[in-house]
Symmetry: C2
Subunit: 219 residues, 2 copies
DNA sequence: CAATTTTCTGAACACTGTTTAGTCTTGGCG
DNA sequence: CGCCAAGACTAAACAGTGTTCAGAAAATTG
């Protein structure tokens, strides 16, 4: 009997409609405007209905965040396409950085929800990553890219995973400081920020390039 | 008549009592537990009273954040003292990084409030920085330290301010990713995180060290 | 058709930030 | 001292929040 399947499908459809409504409200009017009632109004259902599809606002937000990571994946693919299919690993690494920055600039509220939320991110992310899902594929991609750069002799690092963390940290730090307004006095425009990102990746890159001279190592 | 002055003093005292109560609630029970009513209960006043001292919850939080930056200043002084008074600029730079990381680890909820709040931080910080107050002294200290390292020929950079931003970004990114749980699967312990911070500063440092070989500069 | 199961709603509950009318307390002055 | 004005403070209310749940509505079944 295909009727149960249709119901399953409809249930799934409404579920994603709810997530999309939440995403749109965040993008359009910011996180503060996101309430269960505003979502309900948008999808033209009663607030209580949402609780038939999500246990919590937290669970719902987790789904929104997951969708955010997928959306960021699109930015990454786009920027990789710009770099060209035959770009070397370092260029691809820089493309990843640009994608991250661009995503944050063009989806500021969304970006902040993804990274500045309390237990949501933690729980969701741990679960997702343990499952090896596609949500955190971006991180694996970063590791792989850096690994390729190491294999090609372009980066000199102990291990790619640590390098990926450092590169992610640098990008994420600059970005989140900027989108939260902490750099407003120094970095007034988006262009200035993007220029800063390039310089930052220069600094990392030049520290990771192989060199002939001995490396002084404090402590 | 010293009576008006006493009143002024008492008013100021209660004001800071409110800020301290807010800070303590954040530290003890997290940001979610911070409500005007919970503050009022803690200081044994009615909720409405708080509005005689602060226009908003936002203004109050701004004061809390300001106090947070001062508290971080203490961590910096402490770590600088550990490095010793005659440490070179690079060692001092690394001490600043350690202080930042340590502060975040030991005051996680507080740290997140300082950096993950919407317009509060923005408004407050811009005001504070324009006024050249001591709140953002940490940032100036970072710039000065890097400038000293450049003067001593330890770092090779275009300008110290950009270098400071990059260093801050790196530290802040790693730290905020860690405290928000995004690195939980890779960096399980505080010690592992502190080790990562050291490695990250190694990477920056080795990129900024002067070198004899030509510097390849993409774009 | 009636019966049953699923989906949905409206109202309620406890909480939030904030405002305001009214009540205490205090200091100044005759 | 007593009175009064000024200030500090409170209790109650308002609109909003997330969440629950008894019951209505709708859809599926026999």
């Amino acid at each position: 009997m295909g009727i149960a399947e249709r119901r399953e499908r409809e249930k799934e459809a409404l579920r994603t409609r709810i997530v999309e409504a939440a995403r749109d409200i965040i993008s359009d009017r910011g996180l503060d405007a996101l309430s269960m009632r505003s979502i309900a109004e948008r999808i033209e259902y009663s607030p209580g209905t949402i609780y038939l599809y999500f246990k919590d606002k937290e669970e719902l937000l987790g789904e929104v965040i997951k969708a955010g990571f997928e959306r960021m994946g699109e930015y990454i693919e786009e920027e990789l396409a710009v770099a060209g299919p035959e770009a070397d690993a370092v260029s691809q690494h820089r493309a990843l950085g640009r994608a991250y920055a661009r995503f944050a600039l063009e989806n500021t509220a969304y970006f902040r929800v993804m990274f500045e939320l309390p237990t949501v991110a933690q729980v969701e992310c741990v679960d997702e990553c343990r499952g090896g899902e596609g949500s955190m594929a971006s991180e694996n991609l970063l590791v792989e890219t850096i690994q390729r750069a190491m294999d090609a002799g372009l980066y000199q690092l102990e291990d790619a995973e640590t390098g990926a963390l450092i590169a992610w940290g640098l990008l994420h730090g600059l970005t989140s400081l900027y989108v939260s307004g902490h750099l407003a006095m120094t970095i007034p425009t988006h262009d200035a920020f993007l220029a800063l990102v390039e310089k930052a990746m220069d600094s990392l890159g030049s520290g990771w390039e192989p060199r002939e001279t001995a490396r002084p190592n404090g402590s």
